[in-house]
């Protein structure tokens, strides 16, 4: 990891956010409502950032991200309910188990990814999400089926905010480092021109699978944290709608913009709490946001703006060169 000015600023921001939130918690200045939002925000930040890797950088639409989350949540929670280890090692192992289990599913989805892209791939991921849900429902003796898996030890609630926060920061840093690395450039090149990337010798299939596996791993980790915060898991909570909500975060964050995804995840998790009771309008708002942002991103107004800006930038670079 290269240490540059940007990294330092990011670290300062992270530490600052932590200090403020922790201060508010220990000072008892947050209402209970706000306190109960802290962990979900961390969970959705991890979800959004990992999905951002697939949607924003690989340029493929995954509609089954909640499915990965559920695999991680269930496998991590099953470990937590059966283990007798002390809290910290138990949580760490659970995170690893949850992440790995989700990554295995990411790999399974990765296989059709070899042959598919675009629309087809999106539908396959949607299908996988549904298949995962059906299977969890079907394996009643293990997962509790429709009744849900309850009595999960509450190891990742706001009382363990420090741990969850560090975990979130680590996930974000890992993702942003992947993006900035050579691998990240390869992934982005697949998005921008698949055939050219292939011609340039980039192993397209391997990178696609890798991206899916990494994203699934982090979604699984987020799932474990989710499970340890709520204490009960039900298959219905990981449906298509949840996947779409995470997608909205990524799109609102500017697709391929990690910081944007984080900000969007924070806002979209906190907003429904503030606008309590207006959930029907929330989904309506989400759909409008999706359409409007897509139209705006591809509108002539924006293109003209971008062109002007690029010209300016080019001009500046030229001057610097002189």
């Amino acid at each position: 990891m290269k240490i540059n000015k940007k990294t330092i600023i990011n670290v300062i921001i992270a530490v600052g956010v932590y200090a403020v939130v922790q201060g508010l918690i220990s000072g008892g200045m947050l209402s209970r409502q706000m306190t109960s939002l802290i962990i979900p925000i961390c969970v959705y930040v991890m979800m959004a950032v990992s999905l951002c890797l697939v949607v924003g950088f690989l340029g493929e639409l995954s509609l089954g991200h909640a499915g990965f989350m559920s695999v991680g949540a269930y496998s991590g929670a099953l470990f937590l309910t059966h283990t007798e280890l002390p809290q910290l090692p138990a949580v760490l192992i659970a995170l690893l188990i949850g992440g790995s289990a989700a990554a295995v599913f990411g790999l399974i989805i990765g296989v059709p990814v070899l042959r598919l892209k675009g629309d087809y791939l999106a539908i396959v991921t949607l299908g996988f999400g549904e298949i995962i849900k059906s299977i969890i429902n079907f394996m009643t003796p293990i997962t509790g089926g429709a009744k849900g898996l309850s009595k999960i030890p509450l190891y990742t609630t706001y009382r363990n905010f420090t741990f969850v926060f560090i975990l979130t920061v680590v996930v974000v840093l890992l993702v942003s480092n992947i993006v900035r690395s050579r691998h990240g450039r390869a992934i982005t090149s697949i998005r921008d021109n698949y055939i050219a990337a292939e011609a340039a010798g980039i192993p397209v299939s391997r990178y696609k699978i890798m991206t899916f596996v990494i994203a699934a791993f982090f979604a699984g980790v987020a799932g474990v944290v989710y499970a340890g915060n709520i204490g009960i898991l039900k298959p219905v909570n990981f449906d298509y709608n949840t996947s779409i909500e995470i997608l909205v975060m990524v799109v609102l964050g500017g697709m391929g913009n990690i910081k944007g995804s984080i900000v969007a995840a924070v806002i979209l998790t906190a907003l429904p709490e503030v606008l309590r009771g207006a959930a029907d309008y929330r989904m309506l708002l989400y759909s409008i946001v999706l359409i409007a942002l897509m139209l705006f991103n591809n509108s002539p107004i924006k293109r003209a703006f971008m062109d002007r800006r690029n010209m300016r930038q080019a001009g500046r670079l030229q001057k610097e060169g002189e």
């Binding site: 949607v55 340029g59 493929e60 639409l61 509609l63 296989v111 059709p112 042959r115 598919l116 675009g118 629309d119 087809y120 999106a122 539908i123 396959v124 949607l126 299908g127 996988f128 549904e130 298949i131 059906s134 299977i135 429902n137 079907f138 055939i195 050219a196 779409i244 997608l247 799109v251 029907d280 309008y281 989904m283 309506l284 989400y286 759909s287 409008i288 946001v289 999706l290 359409i291 897509m294 139209l295 991103n297 591809n298 509108s299």
Partner: protein, 295 residues
Amino acid sequence: MDLVNSILEQLINGLRTGSIYALIALGYTMVYGIAKMINFAHGDIIMVGAYALYVFVGLLGLHPVIAVLLTIVVCSVLGITIEKVAYKPLRNATPLAVLITAIGVSYLLQNLSLLIFKATPIPFGSIIRVPSVKVGSLNISGITIVTLVVTTVSMIALTLFINKSKAGRAMRAVSEDKGAAELMGVNVNQTISLTFAIGSALAAVAGILFISQYETLLPTMGALPGIKAFVAAVLGGIGSIPGAMLGGIILGIIESLSKAYISTQLADAIVFGILVIVLLVKPSGLLGKLKIEKV
């Protein structure tokens, strides 16, 4: 009842759902074949069609025939509007942007109807009254027969229209190459609008038949049949009109048989599993043509 008879009955059940899937898949495949995009909102246009019929017949008390025609008009206009507002500006954008917009439209329609009609299901009796037919000990409901007939007629009419008429030729030209079609004097925008109008009209018919079969209105009623119909379209070979019909009926039968003899809970998983297998083994589907990608 012996096993053969029970299998036959389950096959008829499959036909019942399959013919609805087929009708929805026709619209999907047509829009995909020509506009080259998955119209995710197709399933929700079915829902709009069903609610429109309810408003015309149930609330305004119009004659069923007029109501059906009005419903088809409403859905066609809606289809054209959606295309003009949401999809047309994105014609040169990445498939990802188009797909996300389509999901947005689908959500928008669902949530609008949720706000207008609420989540409580609305009962609405069938406007189609056809007596059921008895073949030996088998009982085939009237609505199943109507759906099958309508689907078959639509399929034949659509095939003839695309292959024989001038507008159909224009559609095929747009499907092959938009730029070249434009140079040849085809009005691309008009052609795509027409495609969406026909696709949405088919969705309206599907909505009318769907509501006649199940008699309950829900804002989310179109979502699952829509996705399954897409699977059917892929199974039959997306872009192929006879393929959509074949795929729909096969999917309905597979679903019914797996519910009856394997597990109801796993039926959806089996349906999506088939999608994955088809895409891996024969991505062009049963009757589709394979396209080679160009830069």
